[in-house]
Subunit: 356 residues, 2 copies
């Protein structure tokens, strides 16, 4: 400690220390098979003893490959606080990058800096590929990535760009299954609190709700569809607006909103699940801890992030293959809030009022 210089060694010094040329060291660190085993060992020993780490900037300059991925999270800032979705996603992405020897650059795109961000992603030369977790339809970054042929993968499908890489949860299917479950339990007035319908998961989950009706030849009641905003407060307000229409079940498009809805129900003295059954979406940790524990559609968020990295690297390494599309099936986690099969006698009458 202390005698070793704190300056970074470079290729040439490693080469000198192991008695080979620059090129050979380069081959070793890039796993080129054309190196004799003995030579490779010698070089690796020198690398270890000098604590050598290739300079990413130089490597990026020379090869155009930096082993850095960009993660772009557009959309309003607010959701990032309130919903554990993004932290878990970031976790999944970061874990995969650690494992695969990549690094992550993070852009939380604020609209006012979006143009600069796009320029930097596309032209900065520092990024091998981009993971975009956009949920809004008209995101300029996607168009820019397509035009500049930058490798990228979407987390969450995009209806206008179907021929690009994406990984997603089957939001439509998950919502449909949840609503079908409520119907199977005998609920007659199944409502939904949607996400913002200009966000793709918002629209998809709404479509799943509608699909459950269509499949049974039923028509949905527009009064029972309220648009929320994926926040707790939004779920609370939406539930309040829904109450006069006497739903006996609500499919809420996110757990965070469902928790808000639950609060509104309790305030109105409606029992869950006896008076109103509730199913959320995402299965965040708080869902299981709610009172009553919240039935929820679980999506494998961390796996989404992990897979996004794999798809992106695959695309970077084989640019000529077609786009990959991965859709994970969600799982309905049945807890208390959706209730059991209703016996005829407990079917709600036209208007029961609430209360203990």
């Amino acid at each position: 400690m202390g005698t070793r210089p704190t300056v970074r060694p470079n290729l040439v010094e490693v080469a000198k220390a192991s008695g080979v040329s620059r090129s050979t060291v380069s081959r070793v660190i890039n796993n080129d098979p054309n190196v004799k085993a003995a030579t490779r060992e010698r070089v690796l020993a020198a690398i270890r003893s000098l604590n050598y780490q290739p300079n990413i900037a130089a490597r990026g300059l020379a090869s155009g490959r930096t082993h850095v991925l960009g993660l772009v999270i557009p959309q309003g800032v607010s959701a990032l606080f309130s919903d554990p979705y993004f932290p878990i996603l970031i976790q999944g992405i970061s874990g995969a990058c650690n494992r695969l020897d990549y690094s992550v650059m993070l852009w939380l795109a604020e609209p006012e800096f979006e143009r600069r961000m796009i320029r930097q992603v596309l032209h900065g030369g520092l990024i091998d590929g981009v993971i975009v977790s956009s949920m809004v339809l008209d995101d300029p970054i996607i168009q820019a990535l397509v035009e500049h042929k930058k490798p990228f993968v979407l987390v969450g499908r995009h209806p206008h760009h179907t021929d690009v890489n994406f990984v997603d949860t089957d939001n439509v299917g998950g919502a449909r299954d949840a609503v079908a479950h409520l119907m199977r339990l005998g609920r007659q007035r199944v409502a939904t609190i949607t996400g913002p319908l200009n966000m793709i998961p918002g629209a998809d989950r709404r479509d799943g709700y509608l699909a459950a009706f269509n499949e049974r030849g039923l028509v949905s009641n527009p009064d029972l569809i309220i648009e929320g905003d994926f926040t707790e407060a939004g779920g609370y307000l939406a539930m309040q607006r829904l109450l006069p229409h006497r739903p006996d079940a609500v499919f809420v498009a996110s757990d965070v909103m469902a928790i808000g809805a639950l609060r509104a129900l309790q305030q109105a003295n409606r029992r869950v699940p006896e008076d109103v059954a509730l199913i959320g979406f995402d299965d965040i940790p708080a869902a299981a801890r709610a009172q009553p524990p919240l039935t929820s559609v679980r999506q494998p968020i961390q796996q989404l992030g992990d897979t996004a990295v794999q798809v992106l690297l695959d695309q970077i390494n084989n640019p000529d293959q077609g786009p990959q599309r991965v859709l994970f099936p969600p799982t309905l986690m049945i807890r208390t809030s959706c209730g059991h099969l209703m016996r005829r006698t407990t079917l709600p009458g036209p208007h029961r009022g609430g209360g203990i």
Copy 2:
């Protein structure tokens, strides 16, 4: 659209387009004052028309400055999901970086990849400085940063490294004020659920609790101090262990734990605040929405991130100045859960039991 080449223009092309030399263009993009105004205009026009963006890798190689900051979040992964602290901190850091024309590389340090991460941060040559949001005492990254003289700033003070840059909330003071408030309201048996005591904010907030006793010449009761783990479940369990010791107030070292504690109290039919007053820490959004709304010590998390960036850039630009230490005073957000001044008649008896 379409005719413009998708390849990135470089300095030489900008130089050619504006009829000056490479060097002059370089001066313009680096805001060197030694450029005639007319020339500068001409170059800027060319930059705009070519949509030029300096190559970060090349710039980093040549100058050793990349305009990239590293953000290292060590510690177990779990806290990242459950607590909005980190998302908000990241938000603050990212916002400041956007404003100041920097980018962020994110490392969620998993222990198994920590050595590689450190090597990359220190020797990768891609990072101008590092923001470390460590909360554990024996973090190897901090030692490594000190030894290699890499500019860095801690978010959260570190008791062993007092001569380094840091920004922090005054955790001791915030906790002391919260406990003093409970005492002033007439509570007799003020307990605390601490964070993990090997985490710095955990220890600091415990110390603040103790300080409130010391300042009044009181001694604290060890039975009323339970170590938690900053999770909801941990707060729930800690509260259960605390109940037999009949606290009439609890200072909980984080809101997430406080929400768990609240759940335990309600399950045990203890009224909040009548039987047990509660104060949390952090003032996360969920605190205000709890039932009853949770009194909490607010720390300016986003500002912490923002300031960390400023301090770090300051340090990068003036490496010879001494370390900066910034301590933000927290604010006690008084809501329902801590109750009002107790009249003598409502002082709790030895054991009242709970219940509606």
